[in-house]
Symmetry: C3
C-alpha cells in the first residue's frame, strides 16, 4: 500500500477515502494473529495513557475500547461522569484539559451532544499538545468505530485473507429502522457508499426524512436510496443492518407500538427470503429481541453476524488506537 | 498427587470429591510463596481476560477476584450492571455472549437468581468456545469460592505446611444463623461433610427448615445435624461459623428483632465456653457487629479467623482461576 | 541531601520540616524524566497494591493517584462506596482491615470526616502490618498531596532545575476565599509558612474566623496575616491562590450571591494589577468559572498555573507513593 496514515484524530467518516478505509481494515487484520496467540498483547502503546471520557455511559463500547487499549499495553483511565466535576461548574473542555494535564495521550470521547469530540480535538490542536481524539459516539452525528467494525465484519466475510473495500462494490446493503436518530446509520452511510456499496435505507417516514438523500460526497461511489417500506430495501440485499430502536421514541409519538414496529420493520427469517440466499444480518447491539430482529434469527449463525461484530470491535479499536497513537504530529 | 484437575467450570460443590478439594488447597498453598515475595505476581494467565459479570453488586468479592486475577497477570474487565444494557432489552446470555465475543477467557458470575452461572456455562460448552465459568454466588444456591476459602482457612490452621481435607475428619463445625437463605451455608455443608467433618446447623425454625437434613451425597463422609437452639451446636465445637444476617429478613417477619436474634443466636465469648478450648470463629463478612458476633469477639485474634478468611480468599481465587484457566478443554 | 525519609504515612503537614518538603520536591523532580520519556513507567512499586479508599467520591483526585500508582507499576484497587458494605453495618475500620487482609500495601484514603486517615493509620501501626496510609483529604482538616503539588508548582516555576523551599522565602502568597471550610487552605498554610513564605488569607468574616491566626508551629518561619478584604492581600503578591467555593455555603447563609462574591473576592485581570508583574494564579480545581476567577484569566497561560497544578499532581503523588512505599518500617 502506498498510502500512509495521516489523521491524528478519528472524528467523522464523511470525508474518508477508500484508501483510508483499507489502511484501517488491513491494520485490524494484522492484529488478528496477535489476538489468536497466547499472549494477545503487543507493546505498541506501552506507557501511553488512553482516557475514556464517556459523558454518555456505555458499558459495552467502553469495555471494547478498554480491552483494545490494554492489548496494545496502554494504561487506561476511565472518566465516570456520575461522580465527576461536571456538576460542579466545570466545562467539558475543562475536564478534557484536566486529563490532558494528567498526561492523557489519547482521548476516547462519547457525548450526548453532536460535535463535542470535534470541539475537543480542535482545542487540543490549537494547544499543540499532540493529544489524539477518537469519537466514540457524538449525539446523533457519528459513531465511526462502529461503522468501521461493521465494514471490517463485512469485508472479512467477503475476503478473509485480504479484507478491503473493493469487495463491497455493488453490494446491496439495507439499513433498517430509526435512521433519523442513529449516529450508527450516519457513519455507515458514509463508509459503505465510499466503499462503493449500494445502500438502501428503510424506515417509517417519521424516522427517515428525505434529507438523508443528500448524504453524498466526493468519495461516495456507491448509491443511496430511501424507502418508507421495508420490502424494496430487502429485495436481493447482500446485507441487512437493523438499527437499535430507542424505546423513548415511542413516548415522543414518533412510532406506533413495538409490536406494530416489528410487524412492519422487524427482520425475520421469512422476510429474508427476498434477499440474496447468502444474506447476513447485522445489528450494533444491544438488540431488543423480537423488535428489530426476531429472536430466533438473531441467534442463527447462518444469518447473524452480531457476535462477529463485537469481536471485530476489539480489532478495529486496536487498529484505530494504534494508527492515531503512532501517527506523527502534522 | 495422582489426581489431575478436570473441571473447566467451578459451579457448585455438591459432587466434589475429597481429592478435588485437596488439589485446590494445595494449589492455593503453592501461591503462598508468591504472595509473600516481592513481586507477588506470576505470569500464569498472561494475556487471558477475566471478566467479572456481577449482576448483583459486591465490592468485596469482586475486589478479591480482581486482585487474584491481576496477580496471575490476567487482564480484568468489570461489568457494571448500573450502566449496562440489561435495562435495554438484552438477556443475561446476550451480555455473556458479548463479553465472549470481545475475548473473555474466564467469566466470574454473580447473580441474584440461582442457576445463572450454570446456565451460562452450559451455553458456553454448547458453543464449544472454551470459556470457563466461575460461580461467584448464585441466589440462595451456592458460593463455592467462599466455602473453599473457609476450608482453606481451617485446613491451614490445622496443618500450615500441608493443608488437606483429612485433617478435618471428625471435627465438629457449627454453622449458625440464617441457613435457609444462605448460599454460603449450602456450599460449606457440601465441602465440610465431604471433608469428613461433623457439621451442626443451628438457627431459628423459620430459617432452618428440616429439608436441610437431606443434603447428603456420595462424597459426604461427615455427618449433618440440625438444631433449633444454639447450645447443642456449640458443645465441643472446633469451629463456629456465623452467617451474615440480611436485615430484610426481619421485615419479612422471619425473625424477631436484631436484639433478640443476638440474645438467642449471637456468638459471644461467654457462649464459646462450651466449645473446645481452641475453638475458632468464622464469618463470611461483612459482619453486623453485635448481631451475629459480639463486637469484641470479632476483633479478638485468639478466636476470630475473619481476617484470615479474607486473605485466604485471594489465594483460593488465584488457585481456582489458575486451575480452570490452565485446564485443557475436555 | 543528608536527610533521609522516615515517615511511613502522609497524614497532615502541620509538623513537616523544610528538609522534608525538599525531599518530596526533589523526588517529584526526579520522576520528570520518566514522565517525559517514552515508557513513562518505573518498576519501583511492582507487585505492591495501592488501594484507593474514597469514601467521599472524587474522580479527579482518584484518577491522579491511580495514574501515579500505575506509573510506579503498582496494582490499583478502587473502593466504590456506592456498592459497598458500609451500608451493611460494617465500620470504616472493618473496610480498611478487609483490604489489608486482601493484601493492600498502601491505602489512599479520602473521607468527609476529619481524622479518618489518621485513625486508620494508627490502627495499622498498632497491628504492626507495615501498611502505609496517605490522606487524600479528610473533612475540613488537611489535603496534603494538594498542598504539596501547589508547592511543587510554585517551586519549579521559581527554579525549574532545582525546586526547593528556600526559593519561597519572603514570597507573598495570597489565599482567597472560603478558608474556613477548606482543607486545601489548611494544608497550604502549613507548607507555605514552613517554606518561609508570607501567607495572606483573604475572605469574608463568615468564612475566615480569627482562629486561623493561631496556625503557627515550630517550623513556621514565614508569616501569616488575615484580611477580610481582598485588596491588601493582593498588593505586591507573588502568587494568588483562589479556593473553590462550595455552592452549598450559600444555602447556609454564609455567603451572599455568587455574583456578589465574585465582585468582592473574585480574581480578575484588573485586580491582579496591584500584584507583582509576574504574579501567577493557582486554584485546586474544579473552578466555578466566573466565580472564584474570571473565565478569561483562568485560561490565560501568562497568569494561570491551573494546568501545571494538575500535571504536578501526578508527579507529587508518584513521589509520595514512592517515598512511603519504599520506606522501611520504623
Amino acid at each position: 500500500m502506498d498510502v500512509t496514515w495521516t489523521r491524528s484524530h478519528i472524528l467523522d467518516l464523511a470525508d474518508w477515502t477508500a484508501a483510508e478505509y483499507d489502511i484501517v481494515l488491513q491494520t485490524a487484520c494484522s492484529f488478528r494473529d496477535v489476538l489468536a496467540g497466547r499472549t494477545k498483547k503487543v507493546p505498541a502503546l506501552q506507557g501511553q495513557v488512553v482516557t475514556n471520557l464517556f459523558f454518555e455511559p456505555s458499558t459495552r463500547t467502553r469495555s471494547s475500547f478498554e480491552l483494545a487499549a490494554k492489548r496494545l499495553s496502554a494504561d487506561v483511565m476511565n472518566f465516570a461522569p456520575g461522580s465527576s466535576s461536571l456538576t460542579k461548574g466545570e466545562t467539558i473542555l475543562d475536564t478534557a484539559k484536566t486529563y490532558l494535564a494528567m498526561g492523557a495521550d489519547i482521548m476516547v470521547i462519547r457525548h450526548q451532544q453532536a460535535g463535542v469530540p470535534q470541539f475537543i480535538a480542535s482545542e487540543m490542536d490549537r494547544l499543540d499538545v499532540g493529544v489524539k481524539v477518537l469519537n466514540a459516539g457524538d449525539g446523533q452525528h457519528e459513531h465511526p468505530s462502529q461503522a468501521l467494525l461493521d465494514l471490517y465484519t463485512i469485508a472479512t466475510l467477503l475476503d478473509y485473507e485480504k479484507p478491503c473495500v473493493e469487495h463491497l462494490k455493488g453490494k446491496k446493503i439495507a439499513i433498517v429502522g430509526d435512521i433519523l436518530h442513529s449516529r450508527v446509520a450516519r457513519s455507515n452511510i458514509w463508509s459503505l457508499t465510499a466503499a462503493g456499496a449500494d445502500v438502501h435505507l428503510a424506515g417509517p417516514p417519521t424516522l427517515l426524512p428525505t434529507l438523508f438523500s443528500g448524504m453524498k460526497g466526493a468519495n461516495q461511489t456507491g448509491s443511496l436510496t430511501l424507502h418508507w417500506e421495508l420490502e424494496p430495501a430487502l429485495v436481493n440485499a447482500d446485507f441487512v443492518m437493523a438499527l437499535r430502536l430507542q424505546k423513548e421514541r415511542m413516548t415522543a409519538h414518533l412510532l406506533p407500538s413495538l409490536r406494530e414496529y416489528h410487524q412492519r420493520y422487524g427482520i425475520t427469517r421469512d422476510r429474508l427470503k427476498s434477499c440474496k440466499a447468502e444474506v447476513k444480518v447485522l445489528h450494533p447491539g444491544p438488540v431488543n429481541r423480537g423488535v428489530e430482529i426476531s429472536s430466533d434469527l438473531m441467534d442463527d449463525p447462518q444469518f447473524s453476524l452480531i457476535q462477529q461484530q463485537v469481536t471485530s470491535g476489539v480489532a478495529i479499536r486496536m487498529a484505530l488506537l494504534y494508527l492515531i497513537g503512532t501517527s506523527e504530529d502534522p
